[in-house]
């Protein structure tokens, strides 16, 4: 009787195809002998069949089109954001490269060509400071411009 009650608990799950192999085997052995459980299972199978055949509600007219438009806008905004980020990363790397590379160039210029051009401005540190300041000012301006643009994009989306 206990086995019978335990099996009855499995009947809903078998209709949902949710039994493991061992439970399935146990159930089949029991069903071969128990008419009551076999009839009970028919009811569960009918319910499961009814659920599988429920009508498919379709999205209302226009919803998919509206979603497609929104999605397109969002993807375009994402692509622009990625592009802006790429440009920002490039500018930062470029600025740092410029600063690092400037040292040997400025030395070469100050001790070489500029040596005879202007004796007052040939000190290496002056050129390096001017060069770095210009580089960082340009990077800061680019960062501010990109930041404003991203804010505008976010407002649009």
């Amino acid at each position: 009787m206990i086995a019978h009650d335990k099996i009855r608990e499995l009947l809903a799950l078998v209709a949902a195809g949710a039994l493991d192999a061992a439970e399935q085997e146990r159930l089949e052995r029991h069903l071969a002998e128990c008419v009551e459980c076999a009839q009970e299972l028919e009811g569960w199978n009918a319910l499961a069949g009814g659920l599988r055949r429920l009508p498919m509600p379709r999205p209302p007219t226009g919803l998919v089109e509206r979603t497609r438009t929104l999605l397109g806008k969002q993807l375009a905004a994402e692509a622009e954001r990625r592009w802006d980020m790429g440009v920002l990363v490039f500018l930062v790397v470029f600025a740092w490269t410029l600063v690092l590379v400037s040292w040997p160039i400025v030395r070469l210029m100050s001790e070489g060509m500029l040596g005879w051009m202007d004796s007052g401005l040939h000190q290496t540190w002056v050129w390096l400071a001017v060069y770095s300041a210009l580089g960082w000012l340009a990077a800061a301006a680019a960062a501010v411009a990109l930041g404003l643009r991203q804010r505008e994009l976010r407002r649009k989306v």
């Binding site: 799950l13 009918a46 319910l47 429920l54 379709r58 999205p59 497609r68 929104l70 993807l75």
Partner: protein
């Protein structure tokens, strides 16, 4: 049907992660009906389901880089939709997330059927409509598990992934939801009415 083809090819996943509009277009085409149906089962109000449908696809576009191509795409997609639906239910109807509705009437009655034509079709639609209405009366944790198993035909492991629960919990919810469903139908004297 087109939507039966799962997202699994690496190239397709890579295109989605790159934000390729054509890949998203194909995805929307393939899953539109299923995502809408699932959301409608969850929230039961067509206007809310429409809103969540749009939010789901925007969230998918936003979070696609977080998707791991080694895992089931469908499970990921439905978990995105589910999270939005659950958030909505918690925000607007906190008392009803895990509780059955007090009254029987639901918008599910208004669902348009796709069965056979003529008188037989009308009878089938009426029975299905009644079944859908009974499904709509169940608590959300039960109707979602039934929808995922019988309508979306997901494997138990996929359902567990969508719900973020152990497999044993999915089985328990599945059994209890079927028992509740049958109990309600029998109480109305229409236990086997849906059989055609």
């Amino acid at each position: 049907m087109m939507w039966e083809v799962p997202v699994g090819l690496e190239s397709e996943a890579a295109r989605l992660r790159r934000g390729d509009p054509a890949a998203f277009e194909a995805l929307l085409e393939r899953y539109q009906n299923r995502v809408y149906r699932y959301l409608l089962r969850m929230v039961r109000e067509p206007a809310t389901a429409e809103d969540l449908f749009q939010q789901t696809w925007l969230r998918v576009a936003e979070k696609i880089r977080a998707y791991n191509p080694q895992r089931s795409f469908e499970a990921w997609l439905f978990s995105v939709a589910r999270n939005l639906a659950i958030d909505h239910l918690r925000r607007y109807r906190p008392e009803s997330v895990d509780e059955p509705l007090a009254t029987g009437e639901t918008r599910a009655d208004q669902l348009v059927g796709a069965g056979p034509t003529a008188l037989e079709g009308v009878i089938v639609r009426e029975r299905s409509s009644r079944l859908a209405a009974t499904l709509g009366e169940l608590p959300v944790i039960y109707r979602e598990v039934l929808s995922l198993r019988f309508e979306e035909e997901m494997k138990l492991e996929e359902i567990a992934e969508v719900l973020g629960t152990p497999l044993s919990t999915v089985k328990t919810r599945l059994r209890r939801s079927l028992e509740q469903m049958r109990g309600r139908l029998e109480a109305r004297g229409s236990a086997r009415e849906w059989q055609v």
